[in-house]
Protein backbone atom coordinates (compact mmCIF):
# COMPACT_ATOMS: atom_id res chain seq x y z
CA UNK A 1 0.00 0.00 0.00
CA UNK A 2 1.83 3.02 -1.27
CA UNK A 3 -0.88 5.55 -1.98
CA UNK A 4 0.41 8.90 -0.77
CA UNK A 5 -2.99 10.39 0.03
CA UNK A 6 -3.93 7.42 2.20
CA UNK A 7 -0.56 7.50 3.96
CA UNK A 8 -1.07 11.21 4.66
CA UNK A 9 -4.49 10.51 6.14
CA UNK A 10 -3.15 7.75 8.38
CA UNK A 11 -0.31 9.94 9.65
CA UNK A 12 -2.72 12.71 10.46
CA UNK A 13 -5.08 10.37 12.35
CA UNK A 14 -2.23 8.89 14.34
CA UNK A 15 -1.73 12.25 16.04
CA UNK A 16 -5.29 12.31 17.36
CA UNK A 17 -6.54 8.75 17.62
CA UNK A 18 -5.62 5.23 18.60
CA UNK A 19 -6.03 3.44 15.28
CA UNK A 20 -7.31 -0.13 14.97
CA UNK A 21 -7.64 -2.11 11.80
CA UNK A 22 -7.39 -5.54 10.17
CA UNK A 23 -3.99 -7.22 10.41
CA UNK A 24 -3.12 -10.50 8.72
CA UNK A 25 -1.39 -12.86 11.17
CA UNK A 26 1.30 -15.35 10.15
CA UNK A 27 -1.31 -18.15 10.16
CA UNK A 28 -3.41 -16.21 7.66
CA UNK A 29 -6.12 -15.23 10.14
CA UNK A 30 -7.13 -11.57 10.05
CA UNK A 31 -7.49 -9.96 13.48
CA UNK A 32 -8.27 -6.41 14.53
CA UNK A 33 -5.21 -4.84 16.11
CA UNK A 34 -3.83 -1.46 16.98
CA UNK A 35 -1.92 0.02 14.05
CA UNK A 36 1.15 2.22 14.18
CA UNK A 37 1.76 2.48 10.44
CA UNK A 38 -0.67 2.24 7.54
CA UNK A 39 1.28 -0.55 5.89
CA UNK A 40 0.61 -2.92 8.82
CA UNK A 41 -3.04 -3.16 7.83
CA UNK A 42 -4.49 -5.83 5.58
CA UNK A 43 -5.96 -4.36 2.40
CA UNK A 44 -7.26 -7.60 0.88
CA UNK A 45 -10.81 -6.60 1.79
CA UNK A 46 -11.32 -9.90 3.62
CA UNK A 47 -13.38 -9.83 6.76
CA UNK A 48 -11.52 -10.09 10.07
CA UNK A 49 -12.56 -12.99 12.27
CA UNK A 50 -13.54 -10.65 15.09
CA UNK A 51 -16.16 -7.96 14.61
CA UNK A 52 -15.76 -4.32 15.61
CA UNK A 53 -18.55 -4.38 18.19
CA UNK A 54 -16.21 -4.33 21.19
CA UNK A 55 -15.37 -0.72 20.36
CA UNK A 56 -18.98 0.34 20.97
CA UNK A 57 -20.37 -2.29 23.30
CA UNK A 58 -17.92 -3.13 26.01
CA UNK A 59 -17.89 -6.66 27.47
CA UNK A 60 -18.43 -5.04 30.86
CA UNK A 61 -19.72 -1.51 31.09
CA UNK A 62 -20.05 0.26 34.44
CA UNK A 63 -23.39 2.08 34.24
CA UNK A 64 -23.59 3.58 37.71
CA UNK A 65 -22.53 2.75 41.21
CA UNK A 66 -23.95 2.73 44.73
CA UNK A 67 -21.91 4.20 47.57
CA UNK A 68 -22.83 5.86 50.84
CA UNK A 69 -26.53 5.24 50.25
CA UNK A 70 -26.65 6.84 46.78
CA UNK A 71 -26.56 5.73 43.18
CA UNK A 72 -24.26 7.81 41.02
CA UNK A 73 -23.52 7.83 37.31
CA UNK A 74 -20.22 6.15 36.47
CA UNK A 75 -17.74 8.33 34.68
CA UNK A 76 -16.83 7.02 31.27
CA UNK A 77 -13.29 7.27 30.10
CA UNK A 78 -13.18 6.21 26.50
CA UNK A 79 -10.23 6.65 24.21
CA UNK A 80 -10.69 8.32 20.86
CA UNK A 81 -10.36 5.52 18.37
CA UNK A 82 -10.18 5.46 14.61
CA UNK A 83 -11.33 2.20 13.04
CA UNK A 84 -9.32 1.76 9.88
CA UNK A 85 -10.61 -0.17 6.87
CA UNK A 86 -13.98 -1.32 8.11
CA UNK A 87 -15.63 -3.32 5.38
CA UNK A 88 -19.11 -2.47 4.15
CA UNK A 89 -20.77 -5.33 6.03
CA UNK A 90 -19.29 -4.22 9.33
CA UNK A 91 -20.39 -0.65 8.59
CA UNK A 92 -23.90 -1.98 8.03
CA UNK A 93 -23.67 -3.64 11.43
CA UNK A 94 -22.56 -0.36 13.03
CA UNK A 95 -25.50 1.36 11.33
CA UNK A 96 -27.84 -1.18 12.86
CA UNK A 97 -26.42 -0.90 16.37
CA UNK A 98 -26.59 2.89 16.00
CA UNK A 99 -30.34 2.48 15.55
CA UNK A 100 -30.76 -0.07 18.32
CA UNK A 101 -28.77 1.93 20.86
CA UNK A 102 -29.87 5.31 19.62
CA UNK A 103 -30.78 6.64 23.06
CA UNK A 104 -28.22 4.68 25.04
CA UNK A 105 -25.81 7.20 26.51
CA UNK A 106 -23.07 4.64 27.08
CA UNK A 107 -23.10 3.38 23.50
CA UNK A 108 -23.41 6.88 22.09
CA UNK A 109 -20.42 8.15 24.06
CA UNK A 110 -18.21 5.41 22.68
CA UNK A 111 -19.62 5.94 19.23
CA UNK A 112 -18.97 9.67 19.40
CA UNK A 113 -15.36 8.95 20.23
CA UNK A 114 -14.91 6.65 17.26
CA UNK A 115 -14.01 7.62 13.75
CA UNK A 116 -15.13 5.18 11.06
CA UNK A 117 -12.89 4.79 8.04
CA UNK A 118 -14.53 2.40 5.63
CA UNK A 119 -12.76 0.45 2.94
CA UNK A 120 -13.73 -1.41 -0.16
CA UNK A 121 -11.61 -3.21 -2.66
CA UNK A 122 -14.41 -3.62 -5.16
CA UNK A 123 -15.95 -6.97 -5.93
CA UNK A 124 -14.33 -9.65 -3.77
CA UNK A 125 -12.37 -12.43 -5.41
CA UNK A 126 -14.44 -15.15 -3.77
CA UNK A 127 -17.87 -13.69 -4.29
CA UNK A 128 -19.60 -16.38 -2.25
CA UNK A 129 -17.76 -15.16 0.85
CA UNK A 130 -19.65 -11.91 0.61
CA UNK A 131 -22.83 -13.11 -0.93
CA UNK A 132 -25.71 -11.00 0.22
CA UNK A 133 -27.80 -14.10 0.61
CA UNK A 134 -30.70 -12.39 2.18
CA UNK A 135 -30.67 -8.95 0.64
CA UNK A 136 -31.12 -7.29 -2.68
CA UNK A 137 -27.99 -5.72 -4.09
CA UNK A 138 -27.67 -2.07 -3.19
CA UNK A 139 -26.18 0.16 -5.89
CA UNK A 140 -25.75 3.30 -3.87
CA UNK A 141 -24.52 1.48 -0.79
CA UNK A 142 -22.37 4.35 0.51
CA UNK A 143 -25.53 6.42 1.06
CA UNK A 144 -26.88 3.74 3.37
CA UNK A 145 -24.00 3.02 5.71
CA UNK A 146 -22.47 5.24 8.38
CA UNK A 147 -18.84 6.34 7.91
CA UNK A 148 -16.69 9.40 8.36
CA UNK A 149 -14.23 8.61 5.59
CA UNK A 150 -14.36 5.85 3.00
CA UNK A 151 -11.47 4.56 0.93
CA UNK A 152 -12.26 2.77 -2.29
CA UNK A 153 -9.42 0.95 -3.96
CA UNK A 154 -9.54 0.02 -7.61
CA UNK A 155 -7.59 -2.76 -9.27
CA UNK A 156 -4.62 -0.54 -10.16
CA UNK A 157 -4.04 0.44 -6.55
CA UNK A 158 -5.63 3.87 -6.98
CA UNK A 159 -7.76 5.12 -4.12
CA UNK A 160 -10.88 7.20 -4.27
CA UNK A 161 -11.68 9.00 -1.03
CA UNK A 162 -15.20 9.79 0.15
CA UNK A 163 -16.37 11.66 3.22
CA UNK A 164 -19.59 10.80 5.00
CA UNK A 165 -19.69 13.30 7.84
CA UNK A 166 -18.68 16.86 8.63
CA UNK A 167 -15.93 15.47 10.86
CA UNK A 168 -14.69 13.30 8.01
CA UNK A 169 -14.57 16.35 5.73
CA UNK A 170 -12.61 18.37 8.30
CA UNK A 171 -10.11 15.56 8.78
CA UNK A 172 -9.60 15.02 5.06
CA UNK A 173 -9.02 18.76 4.59
CA UNK A 174 -6.69 19.00 7.59
CA UNK A 175 -4.69 15.99 6.39
CA UNK A 176 -4.00 17.85 3.13
CA UNK A 177 -5.99 15.57 0.85
CA UNK A 178 -6.96 17.47 -2.26
CA UNK A 179 -9.72 15.35 -3.80
CA UNK A 180 -12.58 13.72 -1.98
CA UNK A 181 -16.26 13.25 -2.68
CA UNK A 182 -18.96 14.02 -0.11
CA UNK A 183 -21.64 11.36 0.37
CA UNK A 184 -24.83 12.28 2.16
CA UNK A 185 -26.12 9.59 4.52
CA UNK A 186 -29.69 8.74 3.50
CA UNK A 187 -30.52 6.40 6.38
CA UNK A 188 -30.03 2.67 6.73
CA UNK A 189 -33.28 1.82 4.95
CA UNK A 190 -33.35 2.36 1.20
CA UNK A 191 -35.56 5.11 -0.22
CA UNK A 192 -37.88 2.59 -1.84
CA UNK A 193 -38.60 0.99 1.55
CA UNK A 194 -37.60 -2.17 3.43
CA UNK A 195 -35.76 -4.87 1.53
CA UNK A 196 -38.25 -7.25 -0.11
CA UNK A 197 -36.07 -10.34 0.37
CA UNK A 198 -35.70 -9.45 4.03
CA UNK A 199 -39.49 -9.25 4.41
CA UNK A 200 -39.96 -12.59 2.68
CA UNK A 201 -37.34 -14.19 4.91
CA UNK A 202 -38.97 -12.71 7.99
CA UNK A 203 -42.17 -14.47 6.99
CA UNK A 204 -40.28 -17.72 6.42
CA UNK A 205 -38.65 -17.60 9.87
CA UNK A 206 -41.89 -16.72 11.59
CA UNK A 207 -43.61 -19.70 10.00
CA UNK A 208 -40.77 -22.12 10.59
CA UNK A 209 -41.67 -23.21 14.12
CA UNK A 210 -42.46 -26.74 12.99
CA UNK A 211 -39.62 -26.99 10.48
CA UNK A 212 -37.63 -30.16 11.31
CA UNK A 213 -34.43 -28.22 10.62
CA UNK A 214 -34.44 -26.81 14.17
CA UNK A 215 -34.57 -30.22 15.82
CA UNK A 216 -31.87 -31.42 13.47
CA UNK A 217 -29.65 -28.43 14.23
CA UNK A 218 -30.31 -28.94 17.93
CA UNK A 219 -28.63 -32.32 17.63
CA UNK A 220 -25.57 -30.83 15.92
CA UNK A 221 -25.17 -27.48 17.67
CA UNK A 222 -23.07 -27.68 20.82
CA UNK A 223 -24.43 -24.34 22.10
CA UNK A 224 -20.84 -23.11 22.49
CA UNK A 225 -21.89 -19.54 21.66
CA UNK A 226 -18.86 -18.84 19.43
CA UNK A 227 -21.16 -17.52 16.71
CA UNK A 228 -22.55 -14.93 19.11
CA UNK A 229 -19.06 -13.77 20.09
CA UNK A 230 -18.03 -12.96 16.53
CA UNK A 231 -21.40 -11.81 15.17
CA UNK A 232 -21.39 -8.03 14.71
CA UNK A 233 -25.10 -7.84 15.50
CA UNK A 234 -25.20 -10.02 18.62
CA UNK A 235 -25.49 -7.70 21.58
CA UNK A 236 -27.43 -9.61 24.28
CA UNK A 237 -26.57 -8.45 27.75
CA UNK A 238 -27.54 -8.59 31.38
CA UNK A 239 -27.32 -6.12 34.20
CA UNK A 240 -25.33 -7.35 37.17
CA UNK A 241 -24.16 -5.83 40.42
CA UNK A 242 -20.47 -6.18 41.08
CA UNK A 243 -18.80 -5.21 44.34
CA UNK A 244 -15.58 -3.27 44.26
CA UNK A 245 -13.99 -1.81 47.41
CA UNK A 246 -16.79 0.05 49.16
CA UNK A 247 -19.12 0.37 46.21
CA UNK A 248 -21.54 -1.73 44.21
CA UNK A 249 -21.30 -1.21 40.48
CA UNK A 250 -24.29 -1.91 38.27
CA UNK A 251 -22.65 -3.34 35.19
CA UNK A 252 -23.93 -4.15 31.74
CA UNK A 253 -22.24 -7.47 30.88
CA UNK A 254 -22.39 -9.02 27.47
CA UNK A 255 -24.29 -12.28 27.40
CA UNK A 256 -25.41 -14.78 24.78
CA UNK A 257 -28.58 -16.70 24.14
CA UNK A 258 -26.74 -20.02 24.25
CA UNK A 259 -25.97 -19.64 27.96
CA UNK A 260 -27.92 -22.12 30.04
CA UNK A 261 -29.66 -19.57 32.27
CA UNK A 262 -30.42 -17.04 29.56
CA UNK A 263 -34.19 -17.45 29.80
CA UNK A 264 -34.49 -19.24 33.16
CA UNK A 265 -37.02 -17.80 35.59
CA UNK A 266 -37.70 -18.30 39.30
CA UNK A 267 -39.06 -21.75 39.95
CA UNK A 268 -36.43 -23.10 37.55
CA UNK A 269 -38.49 -22.98 34.39
CA UNK A 270 -36.22 -22.46 31.41
CA UNK A 271 -37.84 -21.02 28.30
CA UNK A 272 -34.75 -21.79 26.19
CA UNK A 273 -33.82 -25.22 27.44
CA UNK A 274 -32.61 -27.05 24.34
CA UNK A 275 -30.00 -26.29 21.68
CA UNK A 276 -32.78 -26.47 19.14
CA UNK A 277 -34.74 -23.70 20.88
CA UNK A 278 -31.59 -21.64 21.31
CA UNK A 279 -30.48 -21.76 17.70
CA UNK A 280 -33.98 -20.91 16.49
CA UNK A 281 -34.02 -18.03 18.96
CA UNK A 282 -30.73 -16.77 17.45
CA UNK A 283 -32.19 -16.89 13.94
CA UNK A 284 -35.39 -15.18 15.10
CA UNK A 285 -33.33 -12.33 16.51
CA UNK A 286 -31.55 -11.71 13.22
CA UNK A 287 -34.36 -12.39 10.78
CA UNK A 288 -37.55 -11.58 12.65
CA UNK A 289 -37.16 -9.33 15.69
CA UNK A 290 -34.64 -6.89 14.20
CA UNK A 291 -36.46 -6.51 10.84
CA UNK A 292 -39.75 -6.10 12.71
CA UNK A 293 -38.42 -3.21 14.80
CA UNK A 294 -35.81 -1.54 12.62
CA UNK A 295 -36.91 -2.41 9.06
CA UNK A 296 -33.47 -3.77 8.29
CA UNK A 297 -31.94 -7.23 8.47
CA UNK A 298 -30.24 -8.29 11.66
CA UNK A 299 -27.66 -10.22 9.66
CA UNK A 300 -25.10 -8.50 7.44
CA UNK A 301 -23.96 -11.75 5.75
CA UNK A 302 -20.41 -11.58 7.06
CA UNK A 303 -20.45 -15.38 7.57
CA UNK A 304 -18.25 -15.19 10.65
CA UNK A 305 -20.72 -17.54 12.42
CA UNK A 306 -19.92 -20.26 9.91
CA UNK A 307 -16.20 -19.57 10.03
CA UNK A 308 -15.97 -20.15 13.78
CA UNK A 309 -18.58 -22.88 14.18
CA UNK A 310 -16.88 -26.05 15.46
CA UNK A 311 -19.60 -28.24 13.93
CA UNK A 312 -19.74 -26.47 10.56
CA UNK A 313 -23.24 -24.98 10.80
CA UNK A 314 -23.51 -22.97 7.61
CA UNK A 315 -26.01 -20.13 7.60
CA UNK A 316 -26.24 -20.14 3.79
CA UNK A 317 -27.16 -23.81 3.69
CA UNK A 318 -29.67 -23.35 6.50
CA UNK A 319 -31.34 -20.57 4.56
CA UNK A 320 -31.43 -22.65 1.40
CA UNK A 321 -33.22 -25.39 3.33
CA UNK A 322 -35.58 -23.03 5.17
CA UNK A 323 -36.60 -21.50 1.87
CA UNK A 324 -37.03 -24.89 0.19
CA UNK A 325 -39.10 -26.24 3.09
CA UNK A 326 -41.23 -23.09 3.09
CA UNK A 327 -41.86 -23.38 -0.65
CA UNK A 328 -42.86 -27.01 -0.28
CA UNK A 329 -45.39 -26.10 2.39
CA UNK A 330 -46.67 -22.84 0.91
CA UNK A 331 -47.28 -22.67 -2.77
CA UNK A 332 -47.50 -18.89 -2.97
Amino acid sequence: MQNQEVLKLFKYLLKKYKIFGPVKESDGVINIKQLKVATEADYSGKIPIESYKRFFLSEQESLFYFRNGRWQLSSQLTDKVALWCLNILDLQAVGLTDLIFTDDIYYQKRRKNSLLIGYSVGAPAAELDYEQFHMEKIDNILEHIPFDIFLEKDNIDQFKIYTGSALGQRIVRAAGILFSERIKFAGMVKEKGPDQIMLKNQKIIEQSLDDPIWLELGKTCTACGKCTAVCPTCFCFELKDQSENSKVIRTRCSSDCFQKDFARVAGDHNFLATSSEKIRFWYEHKFSRIPERYQMPGCVSCLRCHQVCPVDINIIQIWQRLKANYQNNHHD
Binding site: L63, F64, F66, G69, R70, W71, L73, I100, F101, D103, D104, I105, Q202, E206, L209, F235, C236, F237, E238, L239, K240, D241, S243, V248, R250, R252, S255, C257, F262, A263, R264, V265, A266, G267, H269, F271, F281, E284, H285, S288, R289, E292, R293
Partner: protein
Protein backbone atom coordinates in the same frame (compact mmCIF):
# COMPACT_ATOMS: atom_id res chain seq x y z
CA UNK B 1 -32.60 8.98 28.24
CA UNK B 2 -30.91 6.98 30.97
CA UNK B 3 -32.73 3.70 30.74
CA UNK B 4 -31.29 1.78 33.61
CA UNK B 5 -31.37 4.39 36.31
CA UNK B 6 -33.29 3.55 39.42
CA UNK B 7 -35.51 5.42 41.82
CA UNK B 8 -35.71 4.69 45.50
CA UNK B 9 -38.79 3.62 47.43
CA UNK B 10 -39.19 3.20 51.17
CA UNK B 11 -40.73 0.12 52.73
CA UNK B 12 -43.86 1.14 54.64
CA UNK B 13 -45.00 -2.34 55.62
CA UNK B 14 -43.93 -5.95 55.13
CA UNK B 15 -46.65 -8.56 55.71
CA UNK B 16 -46.41 -12.32 55.36
CA UNK B 17 -49.05 -13.65 52.95
CA UNK B 18 -48.17 -17.36 52.96
CA UNK B 19 -45.35 -19.69 53.93
CA UNK B 20 -43.02 -18.17 51.35
CA UNK B 21 -44.67 -14.99 50.04
CA UNK B 22 -44.63 -11.50 51.48
CA UNK B 23 -46.44 -8.29 50.60
CA UNK B 24 -44.27 -5.17 50.54
CA UNK B 25 -45.97 -1.79 50.69
CA UNK B 26 -43.66 0.84 49.26
CA UNK B 27 -43.67 4.59 48.97
CA UNK B 28 -41.86 6.22 46.06
CA UNK B 29 -39.42 9.04 46.51
CA UNK B 30 -36.07 9.00 44.84
CA UNK B 31 -32.55 10.22 45.11
CA UNK B 32 -33.02 12.25 41.99
CA UNK B 33 -36.49 13.50 41.17
CA UNK B 34 -38.82 12.05 43.80
CA UNK B 35 -41.13 10.68 41.13
CA UNK B 36 -44.17 8.69 42.08
CA UNK B 37 -44.92 5.48 40.26
CA UNK B 38 -47.60 6.08 37.65
CA UNK B 39 -48.63 2.79 36.10
CA UNK B 40 -51.36 0.90 34.27
CA UNK B 41 -52.78 -2.22 35.96
CA UNK B 42 -50.80 -5.22 34.73
CA UNK B 43 -47.49 -3.43 34.24
CA UNK B 44 -44.40 -4.46 36.16
CA UNK B 45 -41.33 -2.89 37.75
CA UNK B 46 -37.75 -4.02 38.01
CA UNK B 47 -36.98 -3.98 41.70
CA UNK B 48 -33.63 -4.55 43.32
CA UNK B 49 -31.17 -3.98 46.11
CA UNK B 50 -27.58 -2.83 45.63
CA UNK B 51 -25.42 -5.93 45.32
CA UNK B 52 -28.33 -8.29 44.66
CA UNK B 53 -29.30 -7.25 41.11
CA UNK B 54 -32.87 -6.61 39.95
CA UNK B 55 -35.85 -8.76 39.05
CA UNK B 56 -39.30 -8.15 37.61
CA UNK B 57 -42.30 -7.92 39.92
CA UNK B 58 -45.92 -7.19 39.06
CA UNK B 59 -47.46 -4.29 40.86
CA UNK B 60 -50.39 -5.73 42.79
CA UNK B 61 -52.07 -2.62 44.15
CA UNK B 62 -54.38 0.03 42.75
CA UNK B 63 -52.94 2.41 40.18
CA UNK B 64 -54.83 5.25 41.91
CA UNK B 65 -53.02 4.92 45.24
CA UNK B 66 -50.63 7.84 44.72
CA UNK B 67 -47.12 7.27 45.94
CA UNK B 68 -47.93 4.01 47.73
CA UNK B 69 -47.80 0.74 45.84
CA UNK B 70 -47.42 -2.94 46.59
CA UNK B 71 -45.54 -5.93 45.29
CA UNK B 72 -45.91 -9.53 46.48
CA UNK B 73 -42.62 -11.37 46.66
CA UNK B 74 -42.09 -15.11 46.79
CA UNK B 75 -38.84 -16.21 48.34
CA UNK B 76 -36.96 -18.06 45.61
CA UNK B 77 -33.39 -16.79 45.57
CA UNK B 78 -30.78 -14.31 46.69
CA UNK B 79 -32.63 -11.07 45.89
CA UNK B 80 -36.05 -12.23 47.11
CA UNK B 81 -34.47 -13.62 50.32
CA UNK B 82 -33.31 -10.10 51.08
CA UNK B 83 -36.46 -8.34 49.92
CA UNK B 84 -38.76 -10.39 52.14
CA UNK B 85 -36.65 -9.52 55.18
CA UNK B 86 -36.89 -5.76 54.68
CA UNK B 87 -38.35 -3.75 57.52
CA UNK B 88 -40.26 -0.51 57.38
CA UNK B 89 -38.02 2.45 56.71
CA UNK B 90 -35.56 0.47 54.61
CA UNK B 91 -35.06 1.27 50.94
CA UNK B 92 -35.47 -0.61 47.70
CA UNK B 93 -34.60 0.62 44.21
CA UNK B 94 -36.89 0.31 41.22
CA UNK B 95 -37.33 1.37 37.66
CA UNK B 96 -40.31 1.22 35.40
CA UNK B 97 -43.17 0.69 34.98
CA UNK B 98 -42.72 -1.44 31.89
CA UNK B 99 -44.88 -3.01 29.24
CA UNK B 100 -48.54 -3.05 28.39
CA UNK B 101 -51.11 -3.78 31.07
CA UNK B 102 -54.67 -5.09 31.03
CA UNK B 103 -57.13 -3.66 28.47
CA UNK B 104 -59.15 -1.62 30.99
CA UNK B 105 -60.82 0.24 28.11
CA UNK B 106 -62.57 -2.97 27.05
CA UNK B 107 -64.54 -3.17 30.30
CA UNK B 108 -68.07 -2.34 29.21
CA UNK B 109 -70.20 -4.14 31.80
CA UNK B 110 -69.85 -7.66 30.38
CA UNK B 111 -68.81 -10.60 32.65
CA UNK B 112 -65.18 -10.37 33.69
CA UNK B 113 -63.40 -13.60 34.50
CA UNK B 114 -60.17 -13.21 36.47
CA UNK B 115 -58.30 -16.49 36.41
CA UNK B 116 -55.06 -16.99 38.33
CA UNK B 117 -52.78 -19.94 38.93
CA UNK B 118 -50.19 -20.01 41.74
CA UNK B 119 -48.16 -16.82 41.93
CA UNK B 120 -50.05 -15.71 38.84
CA UNK B 121 -52.80 -14.57 41.13
CA UNK B 122 -50.63 -11.66 42.32
CA UNK B 123 -51.20 -9.28 39.36
CA UNK B 124 -54.94 -10.04 39.40
CA UNK B 125 -55.23 -8.80 42.97
CA UNK B 126 -54.21 -5.31 41.80
CA UNK B 127 -57.08 -5.26 39.31
CA UNK B 128 -59.55 -5.94 42.12
CA UNK B 129 -58.40 -2.74 43.82
CA UNK B 130 -59.00 -0.52 40.80
CA UNK B 131 -61.83 2.01 41.21
CA UNK B 132 -63.22 0.98 37.82
CA UNK B 133 -63.46 -2.63 39.04
CA UNK B 134 -64.87 -1.75 42.46
CA UNK B 135 -67.72 0.12 40.76
CA UNK B 136 -67.97 -2.24 37.77
CA UNK B 137 -71.57 -2.72 36.64
CA UNK B 138 -71.04 -6.30 35.43
CA UNK B 139 -70.37 -9.59 37.18
CA UNK B 140 -66.78 -10.36 38.16
CA UNK B 141 -65.92 -14.01 38.66
CA UNK B 142 -62.59 -14.76 40.29
CA UNK B 143 -60.97 -18.19 39.91
CA UNK B 144 -57.82 -19.07 41.79
CA UNK B 145 -55.96 -22.37 41.63
CA UNK B 146 -53.01 -23.04 43.92
CA UNK B 147 -51.12 -25.88 45.55
CA UNK B 148 -52.76 -25.78 49.00
CA UNK B 149 -54.65 -23.38 51.23
CA UNK B 150 -51.52 -22.44 53.22
CA UNK B 151 -50.00 -21.36 49.96
CA UNK B 152 -52.95 -19.28 48.83
CA UNK B 153 -52.40 -15.53 48.83
CA UNK B 154 -54.49 -12.58 50.06
CA UNK B 155 -56.69 -14.81 52.27
CA UNK B 156 -57.95 -11.81 54.29
CA UNK B 157 -59.45 -10.31 51.16
CA UNK B 158 -61.57 -13.29 50.04
CA UNK B 159 -64.70 -12.13 51.96
CA UNK B 160 -64.56 -8.83 50.04
CA UNK B 161 -64.69 -10.78 46.78
CA UNK B 162 -67.93 -12.58 47.63
CA UNK B 163 -70.87 -10.27 47.14
CA UNK B 164 -73.60 -9.45 44.63
CA UNK B 165 -71.08 -8.16 42.12
CA UNK B 166 -68.24 -10.65 42.65
CA UNK B 167 -67.83 -14.36 43.21
CA UNK B 168 -64.62 -15.99 44.36
CA UNK B 169 -63.70 -19.63 43.67
CA UNK B 170 -60.63 -21.29 45.11
CA UNK B 171 -59.34 -24.75 44.21
CA UNK B 172 -56.18 -26.47 45.39
CA UNK B 173 -54.15 -29.35 44.05
CA UNK B 174 -53.57 -30.96 47.43
CA UNK B 175 -56.77 -30.54 49.43
CA UNK B 176 -60.34 -31.64 48.78
CA UNK B 177 -62.03 -30.82 46.53
CA UNK B 178 -58.79 -31.36 44.64
CA UNK B 179 -58.43 -29.94 41.18
CA UNK B 180 -57.10 -27.36 38.80
CA UNK B 181 -58.43 -23.94 37.96
CA UNK B 182 -59.81 -25.32 34.69
CA UNK B 183 -62.04 -27.66 36.73
CA UNK B 184 -63.68 -24.57 38.23
CA UNK B 185 -64.29 -23.09 34.80
CA UNK B 186 -65.96 -26.22 33.44
CA UNK B 187 -68.71 -25.91 36.05
CA UNK B 188 -69.19 -22.17 35.87
CA UNK B 189 -71.73 -20.31 33.74
CA UNK B 190 -70.74 -17.12 31.97
CA UNK B 191 -71.85 -15.02 29.03
CA UNK B 192 -70.28 -15.66 25.65
CA UNK B 193 -69.14 -12.05 25.42
CA UNK B 194 -67.30 -12.32 28.75
CA UNK B 195 -63.78 -10.96 29.06
CA UNK B 196 -61.23 -13.37 30.53
CA UNK B 197 -57.93 -12.21 32.03
CA UNK B 198 -55.55 -15.00 32.90
CA UNK B 199 -52.22 -15.21 34.73
CA UNK B 200 -50.28 -18.34 35.57
CA UNK B 201 -47.77 -20.84 34.21
CA UNK B 202 -47.82 -21.28 30.39
CA UNK B 203 -49.49 -24.70 30.49
CA UNK B 204 -52.29 -23.37 32.70
CA UNK B 205 -52.81 -20.39 30.39
CA UNK B 206 -52.85 -22.61 27.33
CA UNK B 207 -55.38 -25.07 28.75
CA UNK B 208 -57.54 -22.25 30.10
CA UNK B 209 -57.64 -20.42 26.77
CA UNK B 210 -58.56 -23.64 24.95
CA UNK B 211 -61.33 -24.35 27.42
CA UNK B 212 -62.74 -20.83 27.26
CA UNK B 213 -62.76 -20.88 23.47
CA UNK B 214 -64.50 -24.26 23.54
CA UNK B 215 -67.08 -22.70 25.85
CA UNK B 216 -67.80 -19.95 23.36
CA UNK B 217 -65.47 -17.08 24.26
CA UNK B 218 -63.72 -15.35 21.37
CA UNK B 219 -59.94 -15.09 21.20
CA UNK B 220 -60.29 -11.32 21.08
CA UNK B 221 -61.90 -11.31 24.54
CA UNK B 222 -59.19 -13.40 26.17
CA UNK B 223 -56.05 -11.81 27.61
CA UNK B 224 -53.16 -13.32 29.51
CA UNK B 225 -50.03 -12.07 31.19
CA UNK B 226 -46.74 -13.87 30.60
CA UNK B 227 -43.75 -14.40 32.82
CA UNK B 228 -40.26 -14.26 31.34
CA UNK B 229 -36.80 -13.41 32.54
CA UNK B 230 -36.57 -9.63 32.36
CA UNK B 231 -33.29 -7.82 32.40
CA UNK B 232 -33.32 -4.45 30.66
CA UNK B 233 -37.09 -3.86 30.52
CA UNK B 234 -36.72 -1.88 27.30
CA UNK B 235 -36.61 -4.53 24.58
CA UNK B 236 -32.87 -4.68 24.08
CA UNK B 237 -31.25 -7.45 26.12
CA UNK B 238 -33.25 -10.26 24.39
CA UNK B 239 -33.85 -12.39 27.51
CA UNK B 240 -37.64 -12.07 27.36
CA UNK B 241 -38.05 -12.43 23.58
CA UNK B 242 -40.53 -14.89 22.08
CA UNK B 243 -40.24 -15.05 18.29
CA UNK B 244 -40.72 -11.45 17.22
CA UNK B 245 -42.09 -10.00 20.46
CA UNK B 246 -40.49 -8.75 23.63
CA UNK B 247 -42.55 -9.59 26.71
CA UNK B 248 -41.15 -6.55 28.54
CA UNK B 249 -42.38 -4.12 25.88
CA UNK B 250 -45.06 -5.80 23.77
CA UNK B 251 -46.46 -7.64 26.84
CA UNK B 252 -46.59 -8.83 29.51
CA UNK B 253 -50.31 -8.81 28.67
CA UNK B 254 -51.15 -10.40 25.33
CA UNK B 255 -54.46 -11.30 23.76
CA UNK B 256 -55.80 -14.57 22.40
CA UNK B 257 -55.44 -13.02 18.94
CA UNK B 258 -51.71 -12.60 19.55
CA UNK B 259 -51.55 -16.32 20.34
CA UNK B 260 -53.27 -17.16 17.09
CA UNK B 261 -50.62 -15.32 15.08
CA UNK B 262 -47.71 -16.39 17.31
CA UNK B 263 -48.31 -19.98 18.50
CA UNK B 264 -45.14 -19.99 20.59
CA UNK B 265 -46.40 -17.31 22.96
CA UNK B 266 -47.80 -19.95 25.31
Amino acid sequence: MIKYHVQSATVIKNEQLSTDTFLLTLRSGSWMFGQKLIFQPGQFVLLGLPGSNEAAFSICSSSQAGKKWQVAIRRVGNLTDKLVQLRSGEKVYWRGPFGHGWPMDQLKGQNLLLIGGGCGFIPLRGILQETKIIHYPGQIKIFYGCRNKDNSLFKDEYPKWQNKQKSFHLITEQEAPQGLVTDLLIKEHFQHDALAWIVGPPIMIRETVKLLVARGLTFSNIFFSLERRMCCGVGLCQHCAINKVYVCQDGPVFSGLDWQTNPHLI
